[in-house]
């Protein structure tokens, strides 16, 4: 009987800890996720990792390339979809890539608990089509930090 009670208490304690952790993460998300663009259908936010990448992108990528990526993101946020799989592609594990022709990409995911929010994990300028394992891992890390239900 005693062990059963102890187990239940421990269980409640664990749940309380998990809840506290979730609340803290949600608070962190609200404090640090920067607004990328707010459209009619979707709100696009970016992680601090993406904000850091953006500074590099701004220096290295040609302006027309940046303009194309921004247009794609705006269209996605306004209409809720991009029809060309060459420009908006479902990668592994629920991750999506917004792709400009020059190789500039924005990787992200649809937030699990906040409907209508797309989170950009990071930006990258690359020539290879395939998603590299390091980018997948980077997205997973960012998602664990900003998406408590992941």
């Amino acid at each position: 009987m005693n062990s059963s009670v102890r187990f239940n208490c421990a269980n409640i304690f664990d749940q309380a800890l998990a809840l506290k952790s979730k609340l803290r993460l949600k608070l962190t998300y609200k404090l640090t996720a920067m607004l990328f663009y707010k459209g009619v259908t979707l709100e696009i936010v970016q992680t601090p990792d993406a904000t850091e990448c953006w500074k590099e992108v701004f220096v290295n990528a040609p302006p027309n390339c940046v303009a194309q990526l921004l247009r794609l993101a705006k269209r996605l946020a306004d209409s809720g979809k991009l029809r060309s799989p060459d420009q908006f592609n479902n990668e592994d594990d629920g991750f999506w890539a917004i792709k400009a022709n020059c190789g500039l990409r924005a990787y992200g995911w649809y937030h699990s608990s906040r409907r209508g929010v797309f989170v950009i994990s990071h930006f990258i300028l690359k020539k290879k089509q395939k998603l590299s394992p390091s980018d997948t891992e980077r997205m997973r890390q960012n998602r664990r930090q900003y998406d408590p239900d992941y």
Partner: protein
């Protein structure tokens, strides 16, 4: 709140010009995709109709190949569609993406009604969520 897109656009007028350029290209390619969906045609079908390669169609549809007005007209013709062009004042585009879906949800929940004006002009009534006609 200032967004990343706003910040980039406000850097230089050149950024705004490029953004407008890319906007038109994306608008055109998305319209072609939409027309293909409506008519049930694939990229391969379109390539066959235009007597060109599927790779060429792919490049046109992802914006990497310049889409001329002639090509756009040919694509529309092949799909049995017509292209409509309109140049409008940039300031008037502020309401371009006015979304009626949230309003329709409210109407379905019995929170208000909608009337359509004869001249297609919509104004809000002081009564929340109720739209009335204006002339």
């Amino acid at each position: 709140m200032r967004t990343t897109i706003d910040s980039w656009l406000n850097e230089t007028p050149e950024h705004q010009r490029l953004f407008a350029q890319e906007g038109l290209i994306l608008e055109a390619t998305e319209e072609v995709w939409a027309a293909m969906e409506r008519t049930g045609k694939s990229k391969a079908d379109l390539a066959r109709l235009l007597n060109t390669s599927k790779a060429n169609i792919t490049q046109v549809l992802n914006g990497s190949r310049n889409l001329t007005l002639r090509t756009l007209a040919d694509i529309a013709f092949a799909l049995g569609q017509t292209v409509k062009l309109q140049i409008t004042d940039t300031a008037e585009q502020a309401n371009e993406w006015e979304d009626i879906r949230p309003l329709m949800r409210s109407v379905r929940r019995g929170m208000g009604t909608i009337q359509i004006a004869a001249n297609q002009e919509w104004v809000t009534d002081p009564n929340p969520l109720r739209l009335i006609a204006s002339r």
